[in-house]
């Protein structure tokens, strides 16, 4: 219970700056999330003409009171999804669902595979990882050791 309360408080504290950044973004909040289409780096790392123009556009939109998402949407409308350094949340969904299904299928297959393995009549590995001796070999080792001692 205490852990749950701690988690909720921590999540609330973390959400405050994220909310502020969404509602009242700064150029710095956006410049490292937007790609310059000619130089393929984020615009905070570029001084190409289009990167400078994009920064000016972001400043204009911030002054007009747009939220971070609204500014991003306007940039996507002009330059396509590739203008965003990170794909939108919806774009993550399909690969995540695919990876989840794939992992589930692999887990089921691995389980069935393990269950389906026949019980081995071969001697299992000993604790040091090497194969255990057969009774015949064990007997011969004892004989050799006895001869050595004699």
């Amino acid at each position: 219970m205490r852990a749950l309360v701690f988690f909720l408080v921590a999540a609330s504290v973390a959400a405050v700056p994220a909310y502020a950044s969404e509602q009242h973004p700064t150029l710095a909040d956006l410049a490292n999330e937007v790609i310059c289409p000619t130089c393929h780096t984020t615009i905070d790392q570029s001084s190409s003409p289009i990167a400078l123009r994009m920064k000016a556009f972001i400043r204009e939109r911030i002054a007009a009171g747009d939220s971070k998402s609204e500014i991003k949407d306007k940039l996507v409308a002009q330059f396509g999804e590739s203008v965003l350094a990170a794909p939108p949340r919806s774009a993550w969904l399909l690969p995540l669902v695919g990876a989840g299904i794939g992992a589930a299928v692999l887990a089921i297959l691995a389980r069935r595979w393990r269950r389906g393995r026949p019980e081995s009549s071969e001697p299992g590995p000993s604790s040091n990882g090497r194969a255990a001796l057969t009774p015949d070999l064990d007997r011969r080792v004892d004989e050799e050791l006895a001869r050595f001692d004699a």
Binding site: P37, I50, R53, W113
Partner: protein, 185 residues
């Protein structure tokens, strides 16, 4: 069952690797195709012009390269933030007015640009030929465009002719390559 499971796992692993290799090969092939166009033109060949369909900057419909078959096409890649494009635009407009009744179409492709900025540019330089908007630059990869402005010439049969002009085009280049584009049928 064990063997079957193992086989499925192996197939899945092979499929993933095959997918990654295919993606890599596709990317290489696209780059190679763009490089190949320039090399082919330099050898005097006339490779097919890469197809495209783009929205008009003015917002009224789309134009595809295929729809211009039968006409010589001057393809000019530009952007409003490109300084040399400002120098070139009046020359292109003047040539367009000279050639438009002779089966020649000039098409400006505004790339990696804000539509609003491009519209102001068009208005400022009085451009009357069709201008298309390619905000995300989907065409520049296919043509291997490395900077702006850049101009290509497409013959009446849809094949590229002449040479790619990197930087502002001059009148003698325009006249020469339009003549060749009109001759290609």
């Amino acid at each position: 069952m064990a063997r079957r499971g193992k086989l499925i796992l192996q197939m899945a692993a092979v499929s993933v690797v095959a997918l990654l290799i295919s993606l890599f090969a596709w990317q290489l092939a696209t780059k190679e195709q763009a490089r190949g166009l320039t090399s082919a033109l330099e050898r005097g060949e006339t490779p097919p012009a890469p197809a495209f369909t783009l929205a008009r900057l003015a917002g009224d419909g789309e134009i595809s390269l295929a729809s211009l078959r039968g006409k010589a096409v001057v393809l000019n890649f530009w952007a409003s933030w490109c300084e040399p494009c400002k120098e070139e635009s009046p020359r292109l407009e003047s040539a367009w007015r000279r050639y438009r009744d002779q089966g020649v179409v000039f098409v400006g492709i505004d790339v990696n640009d804000f539509k609003g900025d491009a519209r102001k540019f068009v208005e400022r330089y009085g451009l009357t030929y069709p201008i298309l908007h390619d905000g995300q630059g989907s065409t520049i990869g296919r043509y291997g465009v490395t900077g702006f402005p850049e101009t290509w010439f497409v013959g009446r049969n849809g094949n590229l002719v002449g040479a790619r002009i990197q930087g502002p085009v001059n009148d003698s280049e325009l006249n020469e390559y339009i003549r060749r584009a009109l001759a290609e049928s």
